[in-house]
Amino acid sequence: MPDSISWRLATVAALRDETPTVRTFTLRIPGWPGHRPGQHVDIRLTAEDGYSVERSYSIGSEPERAGEIDLTVERIAEGEVSSFLHDVVVAGDRIEVRGPIGGYFAWDAGLGGSLFLVAGGSGVVPLMAMLRHRARVPSPPSASLIFSSRQYEDIIYRDELELLAARDDRLRIAHTLTRSQPSGWTGYTRRIDQAMLGEAVAPLGNGVRAFICGPTALVETAANALLRLGLPADRIRTERFGPTGT
């Protein structure tokens, strides 16, 4: 059986709060074969009575970090796995992990072309792996991220995204806050739509590869808008996140 399909035991090496409801878990995994940005892992929790439950979580870290990965997990009120991860897990705990998984929603700099990323909420996680990887390669392609969050406090990776954009002329990041905005907010204030996507994708020219990750409604809206803007269907990859991914 290939390495990526067998379960292995990971150790929780560190925890970091990203927002009031989102936490990053660094997992150290002996024999980790490495991943492509955009891929995910399955997590399996097993109770003493044998009851076990699996969930998928995207990898947020870049493959250049050997032997460990970051999972960024949103706490879902009724999610038995996300609640466990947030409320129970501490550094030093061990968790079963299977992966990396998924070759469809994956990107690395070797693919060529510019990169257009559209994220809603925790859908930013696999896209962050792409941006972090992109920041580690020589002469990276142009890239643009449109990121929809409910409010300012909910913007996952906010400081790091700001830093990445500030030191990179070829990376543009636009935020939209759909529920409430702080005073002086200069970003968008509406749900992602075709006009917003058009403004961001135009400067990237031809040869764009688009990756869209978020709740189903956002993914469908963005994917169909990009088609109307002229992107070929085979250059648009989507991944739907939902409360079931808890």
Partner: protein, 109 residues
């Protein structure tokens, strides 16, 4: 064509689906089942094209709609909604019902 290589009934039909409320938000896609499917097929199948036995549409497995809030998981065709694959895990076995898949195409590498 939409992003899944599927011919839509038109923008209005899509708008209906997009606006259909919280139930739609529970729909994931084949990427969410990639681990379970890889354990069955022995390789990643998210980029594997599959043909719906109901309507003939070809969609990569990662783009099938996944319904996972049930005992087992159901993957449906994004074009017609027909069930393409069902996966049920019991303590003894993983059961794959593939009668909705006319074919899956595995490229020789």
């Amino acid at each position: 064509m939409n992003a899944n290589g599927v011919v839509n009934q038109g923008d209005d039909a899509m708008a209906d689906r997009v606006g259909s409320g919280p139930a739609e938000d529970h729909v994931l896609d084949g990427n969410a089942l990639a681990g379970r499917l890889a354990a069955v097929f022995g390789a990643d199948v998210t980029a594997t094209p599959g043909q719906c036995a109901h309507c003939g549409t070809v969609t990569v497995v990662g783009e099938l709609r996944a319904y996972v809030r049930a005992p087992g998981a159901v993957l449906r065709c994004p074009a017609c909604g027909g069930v393409v694959l069902r996966i049920v895990e019991t303590p003894e076995a993983t059961i794959v019902d593939a009668r909705g898949a006319a074919q899956l195409r595995f490229e020789r590498r």
